[in-house]
Symmetry: C2
Subunit: 244 residues, 2 copies
């Protein structure tokens, strides 16, 4: 097995496109510059220019925007198989910051690497545009969540989405998943206070729906949780290759 | 002048990449299936599958998500040069709906057209990924706006962003632009009531910052408006071709 075949990105892109040998080889090349980053230290700063993108192979990353008043809004988390800063490598300056939540491993991808890869296999360009479209669909869901869902539904929706994303790359299921997020991460994501997050998690636990404890989310009643959150995973588009 | 050279999309992509003759010819091909759509009737429904994407050449479109309770959250507006449903042509089902605000002209683009275009010119794939990244950066700004900006700053930021986007395709300036949006559109975008929208616009007018009246936004004091909104247009990334 090559390193690319082990890559969560390959598992993820396979949900969109049946990858050929050539495409697998090109993805392999994109994984050449492997790097490790420590938790808690920004990899990319908001406003930084000329940075690389990264393909995350293990660990979790938080992407956020700092506000002029010093507060932060978490935009999303990246899990294995996700691109970090695909936007940043194409836009001149990064519109947000990235911070590893745990020690992570990632492959560095330069703009020239992307262009070379697209030239070799245009289907891969389409697959990466698919992944970017899916990321945008998630941000749209978060926007709708902030605007329209109550705290309990917002939390349930967020934790169900994470579970689906992790399941796609083989590290989660409908029963649950390991999750290194703190209540502060959840608060800054969902627009709630840490105290409110704590209360909402207790309500979900007491209702027999899920428990988030000691770095693990245990889902006790998937169907009822889906109903509470009105969670329709169609926007994650991960039901098998569309492009044969 | 060919029809593609007249296209606002070409003007827009030229902010990212210096387009070659071959790339212009491929873009020309993408503009072949021209269609007209009437105002007020959805072009694409949320949940619809197998639909095309469109390149908007004239008019404005609103993209929104319907909530289970019947309310709608407007995600964004599309102006000339924007793709409609680039996400929808790649994801299996559309995660939102599109409604023309006025009569529009758009070119239909199928998934097979995109794949063929990418195969002919990979730089075009990168340019379209850039446009998609820019769209995502805007959704992120809207998310932050809903979460963190007060009503006046949110309105000012939104109207400044629209002005910059329109200026890029030659139909707006720092002095102002034609704008077919109603106060209901603004309300559903900014998470405000129509009455609140009316009050905020009056405050901005009385402060000598801008007037939105009779389908036209007049900006009276660009610098002070930028300051009020803390508007930094870097995320729109439109300061000249990055890729020569």
């Amino acid at each position: 097995m090559t390193s690319a075949e082990r890559s969560p990105l390959i598992r993820k892109l396979s949900a969109f496109v049946g990858l050929s040998k050539v495409e697998l080889a090109v993805l392999e090349q994109l994984h050449q510059r492997r790097r490790t980053f420590a938790a808690g230290k920004d990899m990319v700063h908001q406003g930084q220019s000329d940075q690389a993108a990264y393909i995350l192979s293990s660990g979790w990353v938080c992407s956020y925007k700092l506000q002029p008043d010093g507060t932060r809004q978490i935009v999303d988390f990246q899990v294995p198989g996700d691109f970090l800063g695909l936007r940043s490598v194409l836009l001149r300056t990064s519109d947000h910051s990235f911070e590893p939540i745990v020690t992570i491993e990632a492959a560095e991808v330069l703009k020239s690497d992307l262009l070379a890869a697209f030239a070799q296999t245009p289907r891969l360009a389409t697959a990466i545009l698919w992944a970017a479209s899916r990321d945008e669909a998630m941000v749209v869901e978060h926007l709708v969540g902030l605007g329209r869902r109550d705290a309990e539904a917002r939390m349930a929706h967020f934790l169900l989405e994470l579970g689906s994303r992790l399941a796609l790359v083989g590290i989660g299921s409908r029963e649950g998943y390991d999750c290194p997020l703190t209540q502060y991460h959840l608060a800054d994501t969902l627009g709630l206070s840490a105290i409110h997050v704590n209360r909402v998690l207790r309500q979900l636990r007491e209702a027999g729906l899920l428990t988030f404890r000691d770095g693990h989310v245990s889902i006790h009643d998937y169907a009822r949780l889906v109903e509470l959150a009105e969670f329709d995973p169609a926007y994650l588009d991960q039901t098998g290759p569309l492009l044969k």
